[in-house]
Symmetry: C2
Subunit: 304 residues, 2 copies
């Protein structure tokens, strides 16, 4: 049985930091911590300690960087798989935490968790569909369609679509697999390589941000024209930077050029392209929401 | 009540030809005709005459060229709206046919009907999701997700995404709204403008087909990476041309570059990128399937 007063755990694992939170069924955070991402054993032990030091949650959701194994029937369910972060290759994440804490664990992609968080408590609350785009160290998107995370056959991995080059940009691209795909042209490391400087330190008027907006607008156009989400939420370290969203709205509007005569892609674009309602907590709160809804469905399933 | 032995009507309206069919609930065609597309009144009168000359169907489905009004609450439901085909602008299609025949009429996009036809009786039968891509006079795709046509907030209109130019191709693009979007670079009229000849007459070894494959592979990559359908069916006058699908499979495989380590995008790409199981009848049979399932749901709804 679900305890209506009980807490749920959320974990967002990232390349440099992991965020943990304990929250109630309404998404109100009771405790939160950030843990630097080290090797899996050290990191997961600290995550488990966070939950044990507070009230033990009824269930834990994890939004993980990828690639990961989502298939519950697979022996490697809940593992990170072929990541270039060598220490984390084949790391046992979800089963380890489940056994360590003795509670059910839900395992999903970081962008799927963030999309579900925004659907549940954020900028896409109750909408028939949304896309959550993250632009940062990598570029990816999670989709919530008809109230559920959409996985498709393999995995949406929108960062690797091909988009036209901006005239004059000769950077070869940073993607090890595709060179100048969207991610290869517009992720944080691509900006850093082009300008020889961490993009976090570049001022708002630096030409990097106009280039970023032009590339990312082409990617947003593709998401919009393939699946037509009701809202597109722009997150991630670069996506949430001041000024980037304003530029994106202008560039996306230009690319549509009023083709579909729909205000959502024109004068009302501010209501279509929006920042995360949960800010930097979209991922960890989404993991909480996945844990809550998993447990409620499991309880319902047993009652049926 | 649905008569299990009764027939359903399907209509696919196209820029040059309309196809009509009468079929049973298993999609077996009892009668079929093609009508040259003239002005709406002439064309619709001939379509109505086809159905009246045979057994009157229990319901009729229409898969229409666009843009069209799908909202059943709108006073212009069932009309073609802002099409550049001036005779068809604001043409009353579905309500007219419904009143003329006195049977329920379902109205949808041509690509949505074709996708639903392939899901019901064709190359995507019973799959959790599929995309039906048409490459011909225009470029567009219909999605069936979890057994239902996916509409999204506005409309999937994938032909208007931006893709990189092939080196050396200087053609400015044929799209009146976007110039060199995917459709502007790779639709039939774009090939005709580049090579000064109807592409239907170009031999299989003509360089047009390699260019077409490179552009269309980039579009297929975008559909695959945004929504990850279980199968992608390639239809349309150009898409169904001999040799085009073989080239597309090679180019798409190259673009993925085994990034996701999934055989579906690599050695098993022949099972992912496939021709329509219903051939040129995907659209009209999809319209039949939409009519059948609409009536069954309506009957069920009344019984509830």
């Amino acid at each position: 049985m679900t305890d209506p007063a009980g807490l749920f755990g959320g974990v967002e694992t990232g390349g440099t930091t992991c965020v943990c939170a304990l929250a109630n069924a309404a998404g109100e955070i009771a405790a939160r911590c950030e843990i630097p991402t080290a090797d899996p054993q050290t990191t997961l032990t600290e995550i488990a300690a966070f939950f044990r030091d507070h009230d033990l949650p009824q269930a834990v959701g994890i939004g993980s960087f990828g690639p990961i194994e989502l298939d519950r029937q697979s022996p490697s369910w809940g593992h990170v798989t072929t990541t270039p972060k060598l220490q984390w290759r084949d790391a046992n994440v979800a089963p380890w935490l489940r056994d360590e804490l003795g509670v059910p664990v839900v395992f999903d992609h970081d962008v799927a968790a963030a999309a579900y968080g925004e659907y549940t408590w954020g900028a896409g609350r109750g909408l028939p569909s949304l896309a959550y785009l993250t632009v940062g160290t990598g570029i990816g998107a999670g989709l919530v369609l008809d109230g559920r995370v959409w996985y498709g056959a393999v995995l949406p991995e929108v960062g690797h679509i091909r988009i036209p080059r901006v005239a004059g940009d000769t950077y070869e691209g940073s993607c090890p697999s595709h060179g100048d795909c969207w991610e290869g042209l517009a992720c944080g490391p691509a900006l850093a390589a082009r300008y020889g400087s961490d993009p976090a330190g570049l001022p708002p008027e630096h030409p990097a941000w106009e280039l970023e907006a032009q590339y990312t607008a082409a990617g947003i156009l593709a998401i919009s024209l393939v699946v037509s989400p009701h809202r597109l939420i722009v997150g991630g370290g670069i996506g949430r930077r001041e000024g980037v969203l304003l530029r994106l709205r202008e560039r996306v509007r230009e690319l549509f050029n009023d083709y579909l005569h729909n205000p959502m892609y024109n004068e009302e674009i501010d209501t279509y392209l929006v920042p995360p309602g949960l800010g930097a907590d979209a991922g960890v709160l989404g993991a909480v929401a996945l844990a809550r809804d998993h447990l409620q469905q499991a309880t319902k399933g047993r009652a049926d």
